[in-house]
């Protein structure tokens, strides 16, 4: 199945894209998508403990299963204000 990955701030800079389309195995979690990305972009590893994640523009935990067509977002520590 296919998901859209959204990346922000420094994660976007590291990947060189704000949006990626990725094929993932059925039943994969957000965490599995993240691990795939860290293989592709080793600099992501520094964010392992500090990112937040969202599915379809709602905060979600790493163990959440993703579905075909989902938008999965990876959010580095925030700095609004």
């Amino acid at each position: 199945m296919r998901v859209t990955v959204r990346l922000f701030a420094r994660l976007r800079d590291i990947a060189g894209a704000s949006e990626l389309a990725r094929e993932i195995a059925p039943g994969a979690t957000i965490g599995a998508v993240w691990r795939e990305l860290t293989r592709e972009f080793p600099d992501f590893e520094a964010y392992e403990r500090s990112i937040s994640t969202a599915v379809n523009a709602d905060y979600a935990r790493m163990d959440r299963e993703v579905r075909d067509g989902d938008e999965v977002a990876f959010l580095p520590p925030v700095s609004g204000g």
Binding site: R6, F8, A9, R10, D13, S50, I51, S52, A54, A57, D58, Y59, A73, L75, P76, P77, V78, S79, G80, G81
Partner: protein
């Protein structure tokens, strides 16, 4: 930007927010407001300008959450909260908040609480361009369910 809770690229207009939270009929005794503005220095660096980025649909939902939390804690308060994104020059406003209430203590507290929560959980980032380089500012790991963070925002708001 006209809704009370919004993200946008246009310059923020605090006067409009203040007018928007004021209730008809004169039930409010206080409107507290806050403007976050772009500072010309940070961590020993001379800042040239900032670029703000947001995950907009989630950020608006987070603003709705912050407004609901504020109403839950201070039931008489009406809150407006807007954040600007894109390139902002020194001295320009990045965030504007207005809180109306029958009494001033709740208006001040709600205003302070809202900005603390924005900094904790809103999916917004500042990219700082300073003399000699640029850096993404990374603050808090956003977790809306973190009760300790929410309690800390409340503690600061009521200090």
């Amino acid at each position: 930007m006209s809704p009370l809770l919004a993200i946008g690229r246009e310059p923020l207009q605090l006067e409009r927010l203040v007018a928007a939270v004021a209730r008809e009929g004169g039930a409010d005794g206080a409107i507290a407001s806050f403007l976050g503005v772009v500072r010309n220095h940070n961590a020993g660096r001379r800042v040239r300008y900032l670029e703000y980025e947001a995950y907009e649909p989630l950020a608006v939902k987070v603003f709705e959450r912050i407004e609901a939390e504020t109403r839950d804690r201070w039931p008489g308060v009406r809150l407006a909260l807007q954040h600007r994104i894109g390139r902002l020059e020194i001295g320009e406003a990045s965030v504007a908040i207005a809180a109306a209430s029958p009494h001033r203590a709740e208006a001040f507290a709600a205003c302070r609480y809202a900005i603390e929560r924005v900094k904790q959980i809103a999916p917004i980032w500042k990219h700082e361009f300073f003399e000699g380089g640029d850096v993404w500012i990374e603050g808090a790991t956003a977790d809306p369910d973190d009760r300790a963070a929410r309690a800390e925002a409340e503690r600061v708001a009521c200090a």
